[in-house]
Structure formats: C-alpha cells, structure tokens
C-alpha cells in the first residue's frame, strides 16, 4: 500500500495555487463574518462546533486542491462532502435541513461513485495513484476508454458543480447551511468540481476529441439558462442565490468547455484565452457570490426571514448591507466596471475570437452559445433588479423589515472586504489576466511565452492585430467624469428647490406597502414567457362570508420543477418500489444471511477464476 503513495504527496503548481488563493480569499471574510453571525444565533457549544466544522471544511478543500494522489484525493473529497453535509444539517431548528441534507448526501455520493469508477479505470492503466504517472499512462489509453473515463468524470464532478440536470441538490443544500458556510459552499466548494474537471480531464486525461468540448458547452448553456430562469421564479433570497450558482457554474464551464474545444482542434492561443476567461469568472463568482450570500445572511439575521416578499425598505435601516449587496448585484449582472463584467466580456470575446478561427457551421454554433450567454446575463440583471428592488427599496412589507437593525461590525467587515475585492478585480483586469495566463498555461500545458493578452497595464487586448480593447480603469474614469459633469449641470440650474412629498397615488388614499409591486408580480412576464419550461399553475381559494360577500381571497402560484418531477421523482419511486421487493429476501433470519454471504463468496471465487 505504502509504495503506492507517491514520493511527492502535495502538488503546488499554478493551478493548485490558484484554487488555494480562491479558497483563502473567501474563507477569510467568511470567518470574520461568522463572529457576528454566530453570536446569539446558536448556543455556545454549537458555536464551538460551528468553528470546528468551518476549519475542517476549509482544510478538506485545501487538501482536495493540492493533493497529488488520486486515492487521497478521493478521501479528501469524501471528508469535504461529509463535513459540508454536517454543515447543511447544522441548523436543526428548520425541519427542512434534514431533508436538504439527505438529498445532498445521496447526490454527492452518486457523484463520488462515478469518480471512483473513473479513478479505478485510470489506476488500471497506470498502476500508480500518482498524478504524473497517470498522466503519462493516459497517453496509452485506447480512445474508447478515454471517452468513457471522460463521461464518468463529467458526471462525477458535474454532480458536485451542479450542472443541470444534476443540480437538484444545490438549491436545497446551499440555503440551509449557515450563511457564511453558504458563501463558502457556493463560492469555493462547487469550484473544487471545476478544479477536478480541469485537473483530471484537461491536464491528466488530455482532450483529444472535439465532442468533449461541445458536450460541455451544451451542458453549460443549459445550466446557465435553467439556473437563471429558476432563480427568477424564486423568492427565498438564499435559494435564489443558489440557483444563480447553477447559472454561474454554466458561465464558468462555457470558458472551460471552449478551452477544451480549442485544445482538441489545436488552437492553443484561444484555448489559453478561453481558460483565462473561465478561471476569471470562477474567481469573480467566488467573490461576488460569497459577498451576496453574506449580505443575504445579514438580511436574515436582521429580519429573521428569507422570503423577499416580506421584506422591503431595508436600505434605510441597513444602509451598509444594502450598499454591499448592490455592489454584488451589479457584479453578478455583469455591469461595468465591476469584475463580473470583465469576465463575461472575456467569455464573449473567447466565443468571437473562436468564431474568427473556425470554419462553417461551428461559427454558428459558437454564435448561438454566445447569444444564450447574453440572454443569461440579461435575465440575471432582471433577477437582481427584482431582488435588490424588492428587498431593499420602497416601504417595508412586514414588521420584520420595519424593525431591522444594521448588523454588527464583524459582519460588515466581511462584506466590505469582498465588496472591495469585487471592485479591485474589475479595475485590475490586466494584472489578474497576466496571473491567470500562467495558471491556464499550466493547466493546458501550452507555452505562453510568445502570447500577450494586454496592450499595457490598463488595457486588455484579446488578440494582437484585431484592435479589440477593453480598459476598465479608463471606462470607470469616463463614467465618473461624465456622471460628475451631469451632477454639475444639475447643480448649475438649482434655482428652484427640491421638495419631498409622498409618491403619486392617483388621488385615492395614502399609498402603503400593500400597493407595492411584489416579487411574484415582477417575475410574472418571465413566468408567462417561459411557461413552456416552467409549467406554472396556481391555486386560488375564495373565503366567503356569505354567498354574496367574499371575505378574502387566497392566491398562490407555483412552477413545476420539471427535472425533479420527470427525472428524479420517477427514479426515486423506482428505488422505493424495488426496495419493497427486496424486503422479501431480508426476513431477518441470520441463517439465511449467512448463506447469502457464502453464495456471494462462491460467486466471487468463480468470477475471479473465469476472468
């Protein structure tokens, strides 16, 4: 056994270091935040437990991204899954926690099962657990086996990443954990699956058929759209963010999938560029989604509810949280000059540059993928207008929101740190890209010494000679100068004074929060436009005082989760039905069980002799 352990147990190449970096910049603010968040929420024993689990969780993830041995990788992967399971069920106050935890642990183990099969196949060819040994052995692997291993890895890691249709655990598990854990889970844990795909598929297995990349691209596009459409329908603020994680994993995979595609058709420059775009979005998503989850946690802490329909007007009571949330919302909606804008722009550029270099129908395919990405970012912007507008603006819709107080200093510090990172990663695009180029070159094994992605320290230039530029510092400068000019003109004409008066109410009566637009109403056009996918239905109930007078009217609207209803529920029903039959051979007699063991051993001996 010991001789199977490699000489070098840990691996600190640029790819691993990059993921360690992402892990540390999200864990640090989350830990600071948890000081304030845990206070008053749990008993002192539970607080200690929360800290212990947090450390175990971060350490296990650090192990996952640095280990150089597939056996220990699997062990670390399992520890990560188990610790995160305990964190999902940590909040025992909610009865939903146990259900969420069960769905999570079942799904993640199905994923791990696929990984084990893939790793055993790899081990069979390499006779070693060491990454480098496997990498060289994979060159000798027959094409058919490589394809199968790729699919196994994709399903295994895809389950963790939350690729549609394997995403169903994500909207249950992420919101249920304490908020600082949600931010690490969404920010980093699902990214370890992306690490797995890059490390095992691109780096070790090596991409040689172009359909791999195409398959990843198609799955990514589906994930983007499904994630964002479900998010639009969601009114639980943390679950909504969890659906956005599905969407953003899709955007990251667009970059990674493109890199795989370009590697297979031998366009190394574009492969590196797409990989940079994917990794850039990865770190950005970690930052802004971490930030948004922390803000959502603050809202929950201050109001005690996660239902945005019950919130409103929080910008007045919690001005700082609102400002941080706005930064996060702008970044995830890809608004300039924040970081989400840069990485989505880079991803789109990767599609465009790819289209300039490939032939025929592939151009159209890339164009339509890019168009779907644009649709996704448009829908994401709509969704975040909804979340921010309904949660923080207008008048409070309930006493929860009415009496909210700004959260404690340590929580604000955690959010401030991530907000600053959001801005810095937008402005320092060139520096980030230069660093990511090294990571991408290590992952794809492409020499980047003769490649350049930037004009100078302020301007991104995807390809020399195409004269395409993007300079976020300049853009910010221009936006600020023009905004200030606008303000100057505004002040110049300030002869008449500004009055404050109530909102126009059509002359009826004083407007209150019941007249406000709700999140359900806001998302109604989307619900109708995407009804072919969402299959919405509603329940109405009239409560009558007499035949003539209706006292109140209940209206509820639902959407059908088609993946759950048409894929997972039938499978689950099948499992339960077969379990019912299996019960017959388990009557509880120990003699019968002993004979089962005997028969099994016998069969195994025969099996080993024959094959």
């Amino acid at each position: 056994m010991l001789n199977l352990l490699s000489k070098q147990l840990f691996l600190f190449d640029p790819l691993s270091l990059f993921f360690l970096f992402v892990l540390s910049i999200i864990s640090l603010p989350a830990a600071i935040y948890s000081f304030g968040y845990l206070k008053g929420e749990y008993s002192s024993t539970k607080t200690v437990l929360a800290w212990f689990l947090l450390f175990a969780f971060v350490l296990s993830m650090a192990l996952v991204v640095t280990i150089n041995n597939i056996l220990i990788f699997l062990i670390a992967w399992e520890i990560m899954s188990l610790v995160s399971y305990f964190l999902v069920v940590f909040d025992t106050k909610h009865e939903k926690s146990i259900q969420a935890g069960t769905i999570y642990i079942v799904m993640t183990h199905i994923g791990t099962a696929f990984l084990i099969v893939a790793f055993m196949t790899m081990f069979k060819y390499a006779n070693s657990f060491d990454f480098s040994a496997i990498k060289s052995a994979c060159l000798l692997m027959p094409a058919q086996t490589r394809n199968i291993v790729f699919l196994l890895l994709l399903i295994g890691f895809g389950t963790k990443a939350g690729i549609v249709p394997l995403h169903i655990w994500l909207p249950y598990a992420h919101p249920q954990a304490p908020s600082h854990i949600s931010s690490i889970m969404s920010g980093v844990m699902i990214k370890t699956a992306i690490y797995g795909i890059i490390r095992f598929v691109i780096f070790i297995l090596g991409v040689n058929s172009s359909w791999w990349g195409v398959l990843v691209l198609i799955l990514a596009v589906i994930s983007c759209l499904v994630g964002v459409i479900y998010a639009l329908m969601e009114h639980d603020i943390k679950r909504l963010l969890a659906y956005h994680s599905v969407e953003n994993i899709g955007i990251i995979l667009l970059g990674i999938g493109l890199a795989m595609f370009f590697l297979s058709i031998n366009l190394p420059y574009l492969a590196v560029f797409s990989m940079i775009a994917g990794l850039y979005h990865l770190v950005n998503h970690a930052i802004f989604k971490g930030l948004l989850f922390l803000c959502a946690g603050s809202v929950y802490k201050a109001t005690g509810t996660r239902d945005i329909e019950k919130l409103g007007g929080l910008i007045k009571n919690m001005p700082q949280t609102a400002a941080y949330f706005l930064v996060g919302a702008m970044a995830i909606s890809a608004l300039p000059p924040l970081n989400g804008f840069v990485s989505e722009w880079l991803t789109l550029q990767a599609f465009f540059l790819g289209a300039f270099n490939v032939m025929g129908g592939t151009k159209l395919f890339l164009g339509i993928c890019a168009a779907m990405l644009a649709l996704t970012s448009g829908l994401a912007a709509a969704c975040f207008v909804k979340v921010f507008g309904i949660t923080f603006l207008a008048q409070p819709r309930s006493h929860y929101a009415q009496n909210a107080k700004e959260v404690s200093l340590s929580m604000r510090a955690g959010m401030l740190f991530l907000s600053l990172l959001t801005i810095i990663f937008g402005l320092a695009a060139v520096i980030v890209m230069k660093l990511l180029a090294k990571v991408a070159s290590a992952a794809t094994c492409v020499d980047i010494s003769d490649m350049s992605f930037a004009l100078n320290n302020f301007t991104v230039s995807p390809q020399v000679g195409k004269s395409i530029y993007l300079s976020t510092p300049l853009l910010t400068f221009v936006l600020i100068v023009l905004g200030v000019t606008g303000f100057g003109i505004y002040r110049l004409f300030s002869r008449e004074k500004v009055k404050s008066y109530s909102t126009w109410d059509c002359g009826y009566y004083k407007l209150d929060s019941r007249n406000e637009y709700t999140a359900t109403a806001f998302s109604k056009p989307f619900r109708i436009a995407f009804s072919f996918f969402l299959l919405p239905y509603r329940k109405t109930q009239k409560i009558r005082e007499s035949f003539y007078h209706i006292k109140s009217f209940a209206y509820e609207t639902y959407t059908t989760k088609i993946f759950k209803k048409y894929i997972f529920d039938p499978v689950l029903a099948l499992v339960f039905r077969s379990a019912k039959y299996m019960r017959r051979i388990q009557p509880g007699s120990i003699h019968l069980y002993l004979s089962y063991i005997f028969v099994t051993v016998l069969l195994l001996i025969i099996f080993m002799h024959r094959f």
């Binding site: 910008i315 990405l373 395409i468 406000e516 637009y517």
Partner: protein, 306 residues
C-alpha cells in the same frame, strides 16, 4: 486636439439627439393629418424641465437620487465610444461593440431600480416589463454584433466605421438591429412613448416619479441612446467615413451627410410607428424571436460570405 474632437462629438450628440425625437414626432403627426408640435419641442421641454423645481418621493432612497447621473453618464460614455471621425481616438481603448451593450445595461439597471424605489406600482410594472423586454433583446443584439464582427474580423466599432461594402448579411443584420432599436428606444409596437396609460407604458412608467432636472437628464439620456442606435444602423447599411483633420470645410460637409442618414433611419422609425399598432406585451417574445431569427440569418450569410 483629440480631446477637442471628443468634446465636439459629445456636443454634437447632445445637440442633435433631441431634434431627432422631435422630428419623429413631427412626421408622425403630419402623417396623421395633424399640424403637430414644432420639431424643436424636445429642446423647449428640456429647458422647461431644467428651470423647474423637483419633487422627490418620501419613500425614495439615494438610489433614486443617483440614478439620473448614472443614466446620463452611461449614455454619454456610449456616445464617446462611437467613432464619428476616423482617427485613433483615445476612447477606443475604453471598450468595443460588446462593451457598448454592457454600458447601456448599466443605465437600465439603475433606472429599473429607481422605479421600484418609490413604492408605486406603476414603477414596479414599468421596471418589470423593461427588464423583461431588455433581457429578450440581448440575444438578438448579440447575434447582430456577432454577424458584423464576423464580416469585419473584429468587435471594434471602428472596424465598420469606415467605408465598407454593404453585403446581404449587413442588410439582414441592420434589419434585426432596427427591430431591436424599436424595442430599446420604447417605440410602437413594443412600447409607446406618447401615452401615460398604465396598461401600455413601459419606459414612461419607470420615469413617472421623476420631475424637473432629474427628468431632464433621463430624457436627454434616452435621446442620446436613441441616436446611438440609429447611428449604428446607419453605419451598417449606409457606410460613410469622415476624414478628420484634412480640411475643415470638407469635414463639415461630411458631418452633414452623417446626420442626414441618421435622419433617414428616424423617418423609417416614424413610418413604422404610424403604420402599426402596439402589440400585447406577451407578443413581444414573438417579435424579438423574429429579431433573433434575423440575427441567425445574418450570421449564416456572414459565414457564407454574402
């Protein structure tokens, strides 16, 4: 000198954009056999709004106050991104055609938020519908950009700002962009700028609570945005290159031409507005779906090289 040209360009955009709106209204009125307001009415409106006081809702937060400046700044930033003169503008490093889409999104995002900020249901309605329409616009718009970049090998706006041959792909792309422009500038059949009827309004519902100088800034921003969209269509199907710094008189002549073709697009928009009725909101999906299909056709044509 470059900064000078840049400021000149901004002044040009600010100066002409309201005229374009006034002209469209005038044409519409004349076709309907009305005398109509003067083509300079938008200027009078702006002057009036600038000299008036302002009422801000008690419910509103700083988002509401800051929005006019964000909106005007994003529109103006888009305006200087466009190369009117063919020379190496320092602003070309700021971004490309794709960045333009995102810059518009910035203004729209804040406008939609400010509409929710006052707590009126009109605002919410407008905000919801605006985000709905704009998110469906994005894929069609992106395909237009895609087909044009395929033709010119770059997403740089200067790439097609010079003289270039007009292909089938350009014409189809321009048509798709025309449909997109109608949706983006809130015109019939997608939206109606003339009405304040709650069932039909989208953009007007969002800015309903604004008054005085803030409203003037927002109106100005939408005039400029409209002019930029018209400019893009014009540049795709009537390409003209303005020679810079050669001869001032000649440059002036070219700029006149430049404006004339933008006016041509404006006339087309006016004709469309008077000849069809407004669609139901949920038919906008079909309308923009058609724009998307046109975008796909433009890409296919670009791939075939026609």
């Amino acid at each position: 000198m470059r900064i000078f040209v840049l400021i000149l360009q901004l002044v040009l955009f600010i100066g002409i954009a309201p005229f374009l709106s006034g002209l469209i209204t005038k044409i519409k009125n004349n076709i309907r056999m009305r005398r109509g307001q003067s083509v300079f009415q938008p200027y009078y409106n702006l002057v009036k709004l600038f000299s008036k006081g302002e009422v801000i809702s008690e419910t509103a937060s700083w988002i509401f106050k800051v929005t006019p400046f964000v909106v005007i700044s994003s529109s103006l930033a888009a305006a200087i991104l466009i190369p009117v003169c063919i020379f190496s503008s320092p602003m070309r490093y700021m971004g490309d055609f794709l960045a333009l889409i995102f810059i518009f999104a910035l203004g729209r995002f804040f406008l939609a938020l400010s509409a929710l900020d006052t707590g009126s249901s009109f605002g919410g309605m407008g905000s919801s519908r605006e985000m709905f329409i704009s998110s469906l616009v994005e894929p069609a718009l992106l395909l237009v950009v895609f087909s044009i970049s395929l033709q010119f090998g770059s997403t740089d706006i200067s790439a097609f700002s010079g003289m270039h041959p007009v292909t089938v792909s350009s014409i189809v792309a321009a048509l798709a962009l025309f449909l997109v422009t109608i949706a983006e500038t809130s015109r019939i059949p997608v939206d109606n700028q003339e009405t304040h009827l709650e069932l039909t309004m989208v953009h007007e519902a969002m800015v309903l609570e604004y008054s005085g100088r803030s409203l003037a800034l927002i109106e100005m921003a939408s005039y400029i945005k409209q002019m930029i969209m018209f400019f893009l269509i014009a540049q795709i199907i009537f390409p003209i290159a303005v020679p810079c710094f050669i001869d001032l008189a000649q440059m002036f002549l070219w700029i006149i031409w430049y404006i004339v073709r933008i006016i041509v697009i404006g006339v087309a928009v006016a004709l469309v507005e008077v000849s069809i009725t407004k669609m139901r909101l949920f038919r906008v999906t079909d309308y923009l779906g058609f724009a998307f299909v046109l975008g796909v056709i433009a890409v296919v044509c670009a791939i075939l090289g026609v």
